[in-house]
């Protein structure tokens, strides 16, 4: 099952924020975590994560800093900020509302 492009795009921000809420991370690890969490259903084009991260950084929802990785190269690590957590909470409310609405109508469809 492949998710539609729009749905992938819409879910990207809350997903990234939620993963960063678990702990600081970097691009490649975030992609891996997404694949793990979605059981492979959510296939991102890897590169597309970075514009999302940069947009969040600019909005102040995440903060980034360069640090040395195990490989010796520099790596950019991202951390969720207080505003980011608030944003995540707001996203959560919205998704809950969507989820609840859809659930309601589909339950009806099942029972009818």
């Amino acid at each position: 099952m492949d998710l539609s492009k729009d749905l992938v795009a819409a879910s990207a921000t809350p997903l990234v924020l939620a993963i960063l809420a678990e702990g600081d991370s970097y691009g490649y690890a975030i992609i891996k975590r997404v694949a793990e969490l979605s059981g492979g259903h959510l296939q991102w084009t890897d590169g597309m994560l970075y514009p999302v991260l940069h947009r969040l950084e600019r909005q102040g929802h995440v903060a980034a800093k360069w640090a040395a990785a195990e490989s010796g190269r520099r790596r950019k690590y991202y951390r969720i900020t207080k505003e980011g957590r608030a944003q995540l909470a707001a996203h959560r409310q919205q998704w809950k509302a969507v989820d609840g609405t859809l659930r309601g109508i589909w339950m009806q469809a099942c029972t009818v």
């Binding site: 970097y26 691009g27 490649y28 992609i31 084009t45 890897d46 590169g47 597309m48 970075y50 514009p51 999302v52 940069h54 947009r55 600019r58 360069w66 990785a69 490989s71 190269r73 520099r74 790596r75 950019k76």
Partner: protein, 465 residues
Amino acid sequence: MTTLADQPLEEQIAQWRAYLRRRQAVHGPDVEELEGHLRDQLTALTEAGLAADEAFLVAVKRMGSLDALSREFARAHSERLWKQLVVSPDAAPANTSRTEMLVVLGLAVAAALAVKVPVLFGHPLSPQEELPPFYFRNASLFVFPLLAVYFMWKRGWNAPNGLWLALPFAAAAVFANVYPFHNPERLADVPQRSDTQVLTALHLPIALWLAVGVAYVRGRWFADGGRMNFVRFSGELFIYYVLIALGGGVVTAFTFMLFSAIDMNPEWFVGPWLLPCGAAGAVIIGSWLVEAKQSVIENMAPVLTRLFTPLFTVLLLSFLVTMAWTGNPINVKREVLIGFDLLLAVVVGLVLYAASARDPQAPPDFFDGLQLLLVVSALAVDAVALTAIAQRISEFGFTPNRVAALGENLILLINLAWTAWLYARFVRQRGSFAELERWQIAYLPVYAVWAALVVVLFPPLFGFR
């Protein structure tokens, strides 16, 4: 990590990185971040058992198409589509750009202070009086040598070559200052200046600009493209200088406004310090900006050329038509020749900068026809003007100004006549545009040589009048 020591793989990664770097919306650190991702992915894939080249293919595929990627980056960083000049920190390796900035600042300050050095030797700049003749004659010598030094530093010239280049500047300093120009103090409250001295002041920068050009092209004046790059540089520098001057005007206006508000008169600072020092330093700063941005921003001079070629063509044609219709002769006043010189210079500039931005391989198009029309109408206008002037030149006599103006008119006329011929051949597809470009380029030293002749020969020829 054994796979990363793989030479072909490293080459592949380098190539991918190079592709990515070319994207305007993706900056240096982003490339580094994405490359880190690619390498992480490669490591994971090879650990899972893929061969290095297979892993590379898969990793690149997963990264997504570079077009889509740079589009997304552009959306996240829309300001990057407006190419940033000064604030893009990753355009060059940080060290060299910082050294360059220090060198440029040092030279700009040196140029600003050079203007003040003659004050120590009894050539004061006072706000009330007109510019003293000494500054007037030597204006280009305060800045151009430093500009040449900047290019020599930038292009990595060694000292012996630099000494050769010091020759024209030294010669210029001699010829600007040894001649006994007649400078009567004041006659009937009008400051009198010797004509040949004014000619020296006007022509010295033109002659010395060639020396700056030699420094710019690193001494290889005849090497491919060097001279045309210098033409491009000159045009952009002019535009930058005008912009900086406008900004300087705003600063000056506010200086007066603010200090007048507390009943202070900043004239002593603005006249002898802010204006001359700023004008000198701005040449260096402007040159650095042009150098820094040449790969970043579209050149302005060709854009202006495109805008003004049609306007000038219409202007010249309507002038010719009106003159033919009304039969009004050209009213030959004293300085009319200089006006027509300037007109020809503008037309040559339009041709030159159109050529500088043109692909020599492209076939003739509508704009080339327009340029030909512009050149031909300029020739016609100048021919009419020259006949009118020639009829009366005996009345005026041969003053240094008139001989200089006539010489310049001739030089520009020869250039334009041959340009018209080459353009006509090109438009009828008998010749190539490259010929025209070569002609324009080859002609460049002629201006400087004529200017040097005016500086060196005219004062003694005309008795330093």
